[in-house]
């Protein structure tokens, strides 16, 4: 019996959504209205990766000494770790906006119920929130890149492409995060997302090269989506350009599209039962 209603709700959404594209931006506009007042929250978000750069990159970096790059070149530790922190900030930022914030609006404020009583559709909600997460991530990425520039941590002008790369990371994780959030029942369930986030953040060759791991773990880490994000951004900033970067980008794009599809379906089930 439940399958009947399920397919019902998906066609319901899909049919009505084929009519007019692109109301997602209304939700971006809504978030701008909110942060117009609470802009300090946005600004303060920038400091987290900066503190990590100064503490781990500079502080611990002094203990670490030089790191060997992909082609055997010697890098200072801060040069090595900065692009990874850039990628991670896009990752963490996207997850924050698409998990806790979305859950709060979904379950607590029931904001989307009100939104869906207008011509807005479920897809607009998903696309709108993910777009917002991307914009916010992009702001951080720009700011962090400027700091990296000031600290002389660029090795190549390819670094400029780190911006679209961060956008891609943001898309992949905002969409996945939102899909995961649709399965959460209470705030305690978020422990699962937080833990996954932490594992990815710590072990995706962010703070040390892949070569530190034994071979079997290298294989596991190479499956991690954040590893590909970090690899992509690091290679661009360090100027190690190769065809493998396309693979990184493809991985993230596919992950994002899968996440978006699931998020869309799940939100339709939850919001238009």
């Amino acid at each position: 019996m439940s399958t009947v209603t399920r397919t019902g709700s998906i066609t319901f959404d899909a049919l009505s959504s084929s009519r007019r594209p692109g109301r997602g931006r209304r939700l971006v506009e809504r978030n701008l209205l909110h942060y117009k007042v609470h802009w300090t929250i946005i600004v303060s978000g920038f400091f987290e990766p900066l503190f990590y750069l100064l503490s781990i990159g500079v502080g611990v970096g002094k203990l670490v000494g030089p790191v060997v790059g992909a082609h055997g070149e010697q890098l200072t530790y801060r040069t090595f770790v900065a692009p990874a922190l850039l990628a991670s900030s896009a990752f963490n930022g996207a997850l924050y906006d698409s998990t806790m914030n979305v859950f709060f609006k979904l379950k607590h404020d029931k904001l989307y119920d009100a939104v869906l009583a207008t011509p807005m559709r479920v897809r607009d909600v998903a696309v709108g929130e993910i777009t917002w997460a991307l914009i916010r991530g992009l702001i951080y990425a720009v700011a962090f890149l400027i700091v990296m520039g000031c600290m002389g941590l660029f090795e190549s002008w390819w670094a400029v492409l780190a911006l679209p790369a961060c956008t891609l990371i943001g898309f992949a994780f905002a969409a996945t995060g939102m899909a995961a959030t649709s399965y959460m029942r209470t705030f305690e369930d978020f422990e699962f997302i937080t833990m996954t986030q932490l594992v990815l953040f710590l072990f995706s060759a962010t703070f040390y090269p892949l070569s530190v791991y034994p071979r079997w773990m290298q294989v596991v880490v190479e499956c991690s989506p954040l590893y590909h994000g970090v690899h992509l951004v690091r290679s661009l900033v360090l100027g190690d350009i190769g065809p493998d970067l396309l693979l990184d980008a493809l991985y993230l794009a596919v992950l994002g599209l899968i996440g978006l599809t699931i998020a869309n379906r799940r939100l339709a089930l939850l919001l238009t039962p």
Binding site: T5, R26, E29, D109, T118, P119
Partner: protein
């Protein structure tokens, strides 16, 4: 007669094995105030969500403004105003911004959205709170803001799900006054309620719903005339005595209902019944003679009270 704005035939909603709405027929015409009266869990909210095009029907026919919600959901919603049971206001925005962004969801230009937001704040008597955060508003204010929000697109039909539940009596009267004005302006109102006084105040026509079905339909007066006597005598005896005493007065009324706290005698001349009760020396603790209400209709149709 004008084409119906809402037309449902055998409308059904199932959640898994649970049947929330079990095949109802409803027709709402332009300019009407139409009510769904019933207790919690009668299927009113499910019906409203199907009419509001935020929940697909499981079976039956449904046409709103002549369109099918399954295929034209967004178009229909653009011409509806919805006041949901929980206010679902945007707690992160100010009162004014709540209205503004809602207008934007309807694709109004910024200028028009702004202008309407200001007019509606006035209508909702909230102009002085424009910059306040939603969380600081009282329950009645939130409700008025939700109604104002639902009007931002100048809807043809306003759907109100339990508009005054949880409000104090004064706030309810303020709200009824606003809804009455809308009705005067020709807005079609569709509302659910489990308060019979609200249904009597606001509805031209209503259906009594119970367990997903429609038990009766008509104007409030028709329903009372059809399903109840003109007057009711309420007798209150000492606790646990109601059952026993009921037997001793059963012959006085057309119908008798024994509730946990009182006995209801249905008769056309209530005063005469009360007189006889006192002549028999039964000495109830309180005696009240009143006119029949929709509450009595509901009790008659379902054997239960509206608010339990």
């Amino acid at each position: 007669m004008a084409d119906p704005l809402i037309e449902a035939r055998a409308l059904t909603k199932r959640f898994g094995d649970f049947v929330a709405v079990a095949g109802i027929d409803v027709t709402v015409r332009p300019g009407e105030a139409f009510g769904f009266l019933g207790p919690n869990g009668a299927g009113k909210s499910s019906t409203m969500r199907m009419i509001g095009c935020t929940s697909p029907r499981s079976g039956g026919e449904l046409r709103i403004l002549g369109l099918d919600p399954d295929t034209h959901g967004a178009q229909i919603r653009s011409r509806l105003g919805v006041v949901p049971q929980d206010d679902t206001l945007d707690n992160e925005l100010t009162v004014f911004d709540n209205l503004l962004i809602y207008g934007r969801y309807f694709d109004l230009s910024r200028k028009v959205a702004r202008q309407r937001a200001e007019e509606l704040l006035d209508f909702a008597q909230l102009s002085d709170r424009a910059k306040a955060r939603v969380q600081t508003l009282s329950g009645g204010m939130k409700r008025r803001l939700t109604i104002a929000r639902a009007l931002i697109n100048e809807p043809q039909v306003l759907l109100l799900d339990e508009p005054t539940t949880g409000l104090d009596p004064q706030a309810r009267h303020v709200l009824w006054d606003r809804l009455y004005r809308l009705k005067q302006q020709g807005v079609t109102l569709v509302l659910t309620t489990h308060y019979m006084d609200e249904a009597e105040q606001l509805c031209d026509r209503l259906v009594v719903m119970d367990k997903g079905r429609i038990a009766a339909e008509g104007t409030p007066l028709q329903l009372i005339a059809e399903h109840s006597s003109r007057e009711v005598v309420e007798l209150r005896f000492a606790p646990d005595r109601n059952e026993v005493m009921a037997d001793k007065v059963a012959d006085l009324a057309e119908r008798i209902e024994v509730l946990p706290d009182r006995v209801l005698l249905y008769a056309d001349d209530g005063d005469a019944v009360a007189e006889t009760v006192s002549q028999r020396g039964l000495r109830p603790e309180t005696v009240l003679v009143r006119r029949s209400t929709l509450e009595d209709v509901f009790l008659r149709l379902t054997g239960r009270t509206l608010v339990d």
